[in-house]
């Protein structure tokens, strides 16, 4: 089952992510690099999906576009019913704020802020009042099992704890998609299992989870795999929620 070319149409209600013939070209010197060369697929709400591929397969470019940090050169990317390709910088920022929860390989917590403050950052940009931010941060910390460390700085936590904080922060604005980039890349295997367990829980609670990884072990946790190669979709397996 290779690429499914679908006609360019508005996504269905439960299609939370939809790529329509997405291309992303870079010009390096005189050469055009086709990082993504016509990719189409869609992910249903509540799916647990991994995007895989070796380095050079277009995985990073895919992540940037999925994360609304970059826009396709052509084609359409629909996230939660809105076409990202048509957005300006402010709209894109707002879209990230409301619809995406990022979890990074190296955690990317703000070192000067406490755990609670880190979790509050997205809510702060959303304009929630202080008391509500506090309350929600406590709730989220409880959900990822880090509530005993709310007043600590990230530097005082272990890698696994930091990633839990990052997950809590990603969940802060109740995003449509939880997007994790090699979430266990900096963790030992025991901690990795715990973090993957956390994603599993979130999936069971109904969250849409998208993992981007090159490790088959990690991808195995997901219910569906999209494999990239040379900027194209090589295969889609599992099919649960993905097409």
């Amino acid at each position: 089952m290779i690429v499914q070319m679908t006609e360019n149409r508005h996504p269905l209600d439960d299609e939370v992510v939809r790529f329509d013939a997405v291309m992303r070209h870079y010009t390096v010197g005189n050469e055009i690099v086709r990082a993504l060369d016509g990719i189409s697929f869609s992910i249903r709400r509540g799916a647990y999906c991994a995007i895989m591929g070796p380095s050079g397969s277009g995985k990073s470019t895919m992540l940037n576009i999925l994360g609304c940090l970059d826009r396709p050169s052509s084609g359409a990317y629909w996230l939660n019913g809105k076409n990202v390709a048509e957005m300006d910088d402010n709209a894109l920022s707002d879209h990230r704020l409301r619809n995406l929860g990022f979890v990074f390989q190296s955690f990317h917590l703000i070192p000067q802020l406490t755990v609670s403050e880190n979790i509050e950052v997205p809510m702060f940009y959303l304009g929630l009042p202080h008391a509500e931010r506090r309350r929600k941060a406590e709730m989220l910390a409880d959900r990822v099992g880090i509530s005993h460390r709310l007043r600590h700085l990230p530097s005082e936590l272990s890698g696994g704890q930091r990633q839990r904080v990052a997950v809590a922060r990603a969940l802060a604005n109740d995003p449509a998609v939880l997007l994790a980039d090699e979430p266990t890349g900096n963790l030992d295997s025991a901690t990795s299992i715990q973090i993957m367990g956390l994603f599993q829980e979130l999936y069971e609670q109904g969250k849409t989870v998208v993992l981007v990884t090159h490790e088959p072990d990690i991808a195995a946790y997901a219910k569906a795999n999209i494999v990239l190669k040379d900027g194209r979709v090589l295969s889609i397996t599992g099919k649960e929620g993905v097409m």
Binding site: N64, L69, R98, I110, V121, Y125, N173
Partner: protein, 423 residues
Amino acid sequence: MNQILHFWPFIKLGLTDVWRHKARSFLTMLGVVFGVGSVIAMLAVGEGASQQALDSIKRLGSENIMVTSVKPSSEDGASTGAQRGRLAVYGLLYDDEVRIRETVPGVVVTVPARMTRRNARVNERQLEMRVVETVPEWFDVVQRPVLAGRVLTANDMRMRSNVCVLTEYGVRRLLAAEGILGQHIRIASGVFEVAGIVKNETGGAVRAPDSEADAYIPLTTGTRLFGEANIRYSAGGMEGEKVELSEIIVKMADTKKVEAGSKAIEAVLTRFHKKKDFRIDVPLTLLREAERTKRTYNIVLGAIAGISLLVGGIGIMNIMLASVTERTKEIGIRRAIGARRSRIVIQFLINTCVLSIGGGIVGLLLGVAIPFLITVFTDMPTVVQPYSLILAFGISVGIGIIFGLYPAMRAAELDPIEALRHE
């Protein structure tokens, strides 16, 4: 209020950031501290000096014209009076006073005075005083608070009495703690009873008619005792000068007549004086000049202060640019989470404003303290004007915004993908 609440988290963020880099923030602030401090201090010193100058000019009286005898620059050629031996004869005459009073329109009163320096003595205590031989109207024209006793009267003039009025300063030097009024002091060849004491007015950039140890005696008494020639004997022989009047103070009916009056006086005197042996000072003109000088002074001070503030601002900008580089990753994280560019701009602007306003507040205190210390230690008057505080504070906020804008824009323009990759 809502806006302040909205920005409060950013302000808190800025404050914690400044606090985290205490030493760096402090050094950065110093530029603004000294800039703002020097603006306030310089304005205060300048204002103090010019107010003092203006005050002393105003004390001369804005309706007054001062005509003063001056020694002509060259003694040879035709001179006003005869030149006998080495006796220099020049200056204003009794007739000049009458001429001015009778011919110049708008004159209210003319006050003649002759000023000489003579030795005064009480027992063994000695002091060289300026002896002002004048008329009672002097005290109407040159107003001084009377501390004790009385000033000269018409009766003193008529009787040619040996009475004198001393300035506070002269009294302190000469009489010390002894009973003052009614004391007798010897001035040159005469013995005078102290009739009153007036307050001294010291200091000031402009020559005041009485700024030292003065003894006022009736003009008639002076003429009777000392004559009009002031002769000093020295090893080389005798040297002296004959001046009938050292000064005539002309009081006009109002300030509008002063300018025309001074021209008329000049015309009258020029007709009767072959040489230019007098000078006419108009306090009103001096006042205008002083005000012009003050403006120039303010411009120069403003330029100096402006440069120091500019240097302070550049210091802040420099640090903020370094801070943007240092916090590239944080900016990337915030952008990835969903912060708009404008939020990043605000965050960095508030950060610079915290620095510049903090510096501004410390500078404000410094700017108030320096003039205070100057006044305490040097007796120089200083005036800290409220507007200069508001100005300085406004400038420090302005500097934060102006010099913070560029680093903030740089921060906001960072590509979030690149910024996240930054180590």
